[in-house]
């Protein structure tokens, strides 16, 4: 630290007329923003505030408001406040900027430029309250022309799964919540790359286990305790780089689950060192199939990058039963800020291109496509399916359902909402039964909404929706963007 250049990012204002001095804010804030002096006066240290809003939400008299700090940089259309703040931070520390969650910058969001069709007069819409609507989705190889062995499929009652979030990045209560919700809703949760905690083995039929470059906690029991195995090559928040769980988060329980020494860093190298080519990937896919006796579909997850269509084609040819494409809005517990904010491509375009490429090459039926990264609502889900996805993963949306307020401080391990932490005291703030109920509620609500939108289009099965791009029209898009997405313009 050299000299002070910045105001706090957030202003914490206390309405002293409302404040009853109960101390909830002091107890709730792990960052120690609030404190009470000997005379009972309340003080705030705004420099420590990360804007997670835990204190403001839990304050029984709503005496607190957290806002962006009112003092602004001099207006400049080119040098934005974030550019300036980032330079200050780097000038003082010399460090690579590390951040959490997904890319928050203003890039075009194609979901927001796509509109759904609905039936009027010439073909009747379907009332989902009266008629059966089918959301059941099977993920896996459906190629009937290769009559080798049986092709295992994952059955999803709703085409929305919980994305990979490792124990260590998130608390065990988060994983427990999502696992219970997945069982309740008939879908899958994903362990991420941090191994599978012994307490969660009972959820095996609803578990996807991940094999990433660090190979944490991977052994025959781990591969056995799952419905599917996912090879993680990359993720949308940080394409091309590996993972790094800081030692502070590696508690004895995390260490046991990952099978590494307590309090040591857990580094996942950028590449799998046994995968330097599509042929190598094919070999790992086959190795996992052999190790699981061909009983489980093998998934391969990659970030959406420039040549994603060719890459996905290679992955399908490598024998993957499921291909997961993670768009550039995908989130993470920790990523270098420059990578998170500047790498990858939007999931909408990637998905449309991959689906079309696999169709053109006649191999679409050999693998299911899962879209991931920035799915915010049931509308995004249905648009993703129309662009070619079989199902989607939700990570950020699932965490928001558990209380996440998007402060982007996951990498610190000091999550006041008890989500991105392994601290026992903080983790207890999320009751897994309540968490499971909220996450399951979200899926139930989205499923109803998807059925209503499908019914409006006169479609009663999600199978008829997949890749059915006549059901979408683009607004405010250039011709080449429409072509990439494979949709017509509104009015056409």
């Amino acid at each position: 630290m050299t000299m002070k250049m910045l105001t706090p990012a957030f202003a914490v204002q206390r309405d002293t007329e409302r404040c009853i001095g109960c101390g909830v804010c002091i107890n709730q804030c792990i960052n120690e923003v609030h404190h009470m002096d000997e005379d009972g006066w309340m003080w705030v240290d705004e420099d420590r505030c990360v804007g997670c809003q835990r204190c403001g939400v839990l304050c029984p008299t709503h005496a607190l408001s957290i806002t962006e700090f009112p003092m602004q940089f001099r207006g400049n259309q080119y040098w934005s406040p974030s550019h300036i703040r980032e330079i200050y931070a780097q000038a003082q520390t010399g460090g690579v900027l590390l951040t959490g969650m997904g890319n928050p910058r203003r890039y075009r969001c194609y979901f927001d430029h796509l509109l759904l069709n609905a039936s009027q007069v010439t073909n009747p819409s379907i009332d989902p309250l009266r008629e059966p609507m089918e959301l059941t989705t099977y993920l896996g190889n459906k190629d009937v022309e290769v009559p080798d062995r049986e092709k295992p499929q994952l059955k999803l009652k709703v085409p929305v799964m919980f994305a990979a979030m490792s124990y260590g990045a998130v608390s065990l209560n988060v994983q427990n919540s999502l696992a219970m919700a997945a069982r309740e809703a008939g879908t899958m949760w994903n362990t991420g790359e941090g191994g599978l905690h012994a307490d969660l083995r009972e959820f095996a039929p609803h578990t996807i286990v991940q094999v990433a470059s660090g190979r944490f906690g991977v052994n025959p029991d781990y591969l056995g305790a799952a419905a599917a195995v996912e090879i993680k090559i990359g993720q949308g928040a940080k394409p091309g780089i590996g993972g790094h769980l800081p030692g502070e988060k590696v508690t004895p329980d995390v260490a046991r689950t990952r099978m590494i020494p307590t309090w040591s860093d857990a580094i996942s190298p950028a590449p799998h060192h046994d995968i330097y080519s599509i042929e190598d990937l094919a070999q790992l896919v086959e190795t996992l199939k052999v190790a699981t006796r061909y009983t489980k579909p093998i998934s391969v997850k990659v970030a959406a990058v420039h040549n994603i269509a060719a890459i996905a084609s290679g992955i399908v040819r490598a024998g993957a039963d499921i291909v997961v494409i993670d768009g550039f809005r995908g989130a993470t517990g920790a990523a270098p800020l420059r990578i998170r904010d500047n790498t990858g491509i939007p999931i909408e375009v990637a998905l449309a291109q991959v689906h079309q490429r696999l169709l053109d090459e006649g191999i679409r039926q050999r693998a299911s496509l899962v879209a991931s990264g920035g799915i915010r609502s049931s509308a995004d889900v249905i648009k993703a399916i129309i662009l070619g996805a079989d199902a989607v993963y939700i990570g950020t949306a699932a965490l928001i359902a558990l209380g996440c307020h998007m402060c982007q401080c996951c990498f610190t391990g000091r999550c006041n909402w008890g989500i991105a932490t392994t601290d026992a005291r903080l983790s207890k703030r999320l009751n897994p039964r309540l968490g499971a109920e909220m996450a399951a509620n979200l899926l139930q609500a989205w499923a109803h909404e998807i059925k209503e939108m499908m019914g409006g289009m006169g479609i009663n099965s999600v199978d008829s929706l997949r890749g059915n791009r006549l059901m979408l029209r683009g607004v405010g898009l250039e011709r080449h963007e429409l072509e990439l997405l494979g949709v017509l313009a509104a009015g056409e």
């Binding site: 990012a9 990360v50 804007g51 974030s82 703040r85 980032e86 931070a89 780097q90 520390t93 010399g94 460090g95 690579v96 900027l97 590390l98 951040t99 928050p104 094999v211 470059s213 660090g214 190979r215 991977v218 052994n219 025959p220 029991d221 591969l223 790094h244 800081p246 030692g247 260490a255 046991r256 099978m259 590494i260 020494p261 040591s264 860093d265 857990a266 580094i267 190298p269 060192h273 046994d274 070999q283 086959e286 190795t287 996992l288 052999v290 190790a291 699981t292 006796r293 270098p336 800020l337 904010d341 402060c407 982007q408 401080c409 990498f411 610190t412």
Partner: protein, 244 residues
Amino acid sequence: MTVIDAGQYDQAALLEVLANVNEPEIEVVHVNGQRYLGCGWKNRKKLILRGTAGNNLGAFAEGPHIVLYGNGQEGVGNTMSEGLIVVHGRVGDIAGYGMRGGALYIRDNAGYRLGIHMKAYLQKQPVIVVGGRAGAFTGEYMAGGTIIILGLNDDNRPLVGPWCGTGMYSGAIYLRGEVPYEHLAPNTTCQVLQADELEPIMDYLQRYAEYFDYDIEKILSQPFTRITTVNKRLYKHMYTGFVS
């Protein structure tokens, strides 16, 4: 003991046959590059292989005792969590990648990226012993366990290739004889061991001598150097937390 002629089967069929042999000891002759042998095995079976084993021999295995009379290819003991693999020959790249338990004894040389990301947890302490030398990136990202390179083939080439121990943050690499210092990553530190300091690896050296009928005195005739890491939190200070 069941003896299987690998020449009679294609790869998938061979794996199927092997999986269904319910005997504690199986011998496979005429192995000719078949992959994934012993892959994912969770048992204490002994698998004797004669010929050249294909990629990912014993990958993800937990417990089997595999003896290969011949050479191994890539990925021997890949992500193995328990068991013993003894190779009477050489092995290719990425042997022992992500290995977290058990032992890998290789009579001759090993290829690139030996023991990358090996790790240890409590009683799970993986070990790799190589009789010859190893290629580049040996012990990269190593997070625990032991790698021993003996250099017994005496062909005057470096014991390990460049970038040995890059990003390593735990565990130890032992080199016998002349250390190619220029090939060691900057975060590593070396200590030449006295005879009485060989105790942690003595058992491994004796096993090597026993498995390959080698003279232990000859192994001990050269000094050993232990390579460990200086900083266990190597990248801690590289980052600055930032909220946009």
